[in-house]
């Protein structure tokens, strides 16, 4: 079972409001449990479950979960501890990905989902590294070169200016 199939499975469980599911196939075993603590699975559930018969949308019920947690400083891996001078010295040859707009930086597609990248990750040209939001427009930031993420300059949820460095990529 690959990641896509697992994702589809979880979507199905959310859609059908199934709270627990176990599947054994050969040497593989999948156990999914949805509940108040299962944050990664739940984001869709409150609006869907709480609302009948013609649920619609929501913007308003969820903002606390969407905006606040991310906006709070320190919730996630802020940029890696800036390391010693040796590192800083070698920053000169990093490819710097800059913000194309003014807005708010997000490291994940939505709260509760894993960050697009972290320091040390190998990335390919065109891969999404993060999102800058302004005026409810989500701007996907792509890696302009392939390499390894050496620096993440901006903490999740913080404001960024036009042209501000977001990522340092060490080309390979």
């Amino acid at each position: 079972m690959n990641q896509k199939e697992i994702k589809e499975l979880i979507e199905l469980l959310v859609e059908k409001d199934i709270t627990e599911f176990e599947l054994e196939r050969g040497d593989m075993k999948v156990h999914v449990k949805r509940g108040s603590t299962a944050a990664p699975v739940v984001p869709l559930a409150p609006a869907v479950a709480g609302v009948q018969p013609f649920p619609v949308a929501t913007a308003t019920p969820t903002p606390p979960s969407s905006a606040t947690p991310q906006a709070g400083p320190g919730r996630t891996s802020a940029p890696p501890a800036p390391s010693p001078e040796s590192e800083a010295a070698s920053d000169a040859d990093l490819f710097i990905v800059k913000s194309p707009i003014v807005g708010t930086y997000y490291e994940a597609a939505s709260p509760g989902t894993p960050p697009f990248v972290k320091v040390g990750d190998a990335v390919k040209e065109g891969q999404v590294l993060g999102i800058i939001e302004a005026m409810k427009l989500m701007n996907e930031i792509e890696a302009e070169v392939s390499g390894v993420i050496a620096r993440m300059f901006v903490p999740n949820g913080s404001p960024v200016e036009y042209g501000m460095p977001l990522f340092g990529i060490r080309r390979q």
Binding site: T58, P100, V102, L137
Partner: protein
């Protein structure tokens, strides 16, 4: 595993509906439908069954011929296309009966070369997306779930205005079609009587100085009879506000014409077009000036709105001075 049918609607289904709509008062023989579609009578029968499963009311069978009981309010390319002639949206309309999210599919298609003006419409979304983790639950054929692909020749900063013109286009279309007068809550929630009936989510893929593509996703509550639970105080539909149902086909056509028009003005206009957009947004929105609001950004703060800056960002006068709202949700503290 029961994977959702994310396939585009079979073009033959759309053509059958069009053919039966054009001849709404008579039975059309299975042979004629088969000839028009270049297929067999048994394929037509299968397609008709599929349409019935999807809720289209068709009477008859292969030996009698077929007839529509009522013209369905489905957003099919064959129906919408002719209503959009002359706009960038006419040539590439993609319809789905059921889709995860129109925005997600539109973004994926844009990444692989979908042209400017492509439209993605779903009768039902099962994983509609809003801002952040917000879901947008989209019941079948009650609302409009529409995403468009644009490839503006401008800087990423200028593309932010697309967020504002999308809201203006919805308000214009609703006004023309229903006579209702929607309010705009910055940047682009569309409200009636203080409740939201339309949400817009724009996604962009850009380099530092150039936009590759933008997808504008628009969800409109049209014929929902009511909302309950936590949505009840904050959500509404055009039907709930006007006491009658509306044609989603008419509304979608009006919306895309209006959006196409606004987009053309922005693309052609430069500086004057930009100020015209900001001015028209301000005229349509009660939120631009003198509203007491809470802003969900930078830890959250309160203040009184004081217009838009020249990039379209909302200005809010707080005790600590004038602040610029970049992306936060704005909520009224002074009533609707």
């Amino acid at each position: 595993m029961d994977v959702p049918p994310d396939n585009p609607t079979d073009a033959r289904l759309s053509r059958i509906v069009r053919l039966l709509s054009d001849n709404a008062t008579v039975l059309i023989s299975g042979t004629r439908v088969a000839e028009e579609l270049g297929t067999t009578r048994s394929e037509v029968w299968r397609a008709v069954q599929q349409l019935r499963d999807l809720g289209v009311q068709i009477t008859g069978h292969p030996s009698t011929g077929y007839q529509l009981e009522s013209v369905p309010d489905l957003l099919l390319p064959e129906v919408l296309g002719p209503m959009l002639s002359g706009t960038i949206f006419a040539p590439h309309i993609h319809h789905y009966f059921r889709l995860g999210s129109t925005n997600m599919t539109a973004m994926q298609s844009a990444a692989t070369g979908e042209p400017e003006g492509a439209v993605f419409l779903a009768e039902q979304q099962i994983a509609g997306r809003g801002r952040g983790a917000n879901s947008w639950e989209s019941a079948q054929s009650l609302g409009i779930y529409c995403s468009v692909v644009l490839r503006p020749n401008c800087s990423p900063g200028d593309a932010l205005l697309l967020s504002l013109i999308a809201g203006i286009a919805v308000a214009e279309a609703v006004e023309q079609t229903t006579g209702l007068h929607p309010d705009l809550r910055w940047p682009n929630d569309v409200l009636l009587d203080g409740r939201k009936f339309c949400g817009i989510l724009t996604e962009m893929n850009a380099e530092a100085t150039r936009v590759r593509y933008v997808v504008i996703g628009i969800g409109i509550n049209v014929n929902h009879p009511s909302f309950s639970g936590e949505l009840e105080p904050i959500a509404t539909s055009l039907r709930m506000e006007s006491g009658r149902e509306w044609s989603r086909v008419e509304l979608t056509a009006a919306l895309l014409r209006s959006l196409g028009n606004e987009y053309r003005k922005l693309a052609e206009g430069g500086g004057p077009a930009r100020s015209s957009i900001l001015q028209r947004f301000a005229e349509r929105s009660s939120f631009v000036r003198s509203r007491h609001v809470h802003v969900d950004e930078g830890g959250g703060y309160e203040g009184v709105t004081e217009g838009l800056d020249d990039r379209g960002f909302l200005l809010v006068r707080t005790k600590a001075g004038l602040r610029t709202v970049f992306s936060g949700m704005v909520r009224a503290l002074d009533g609707k």
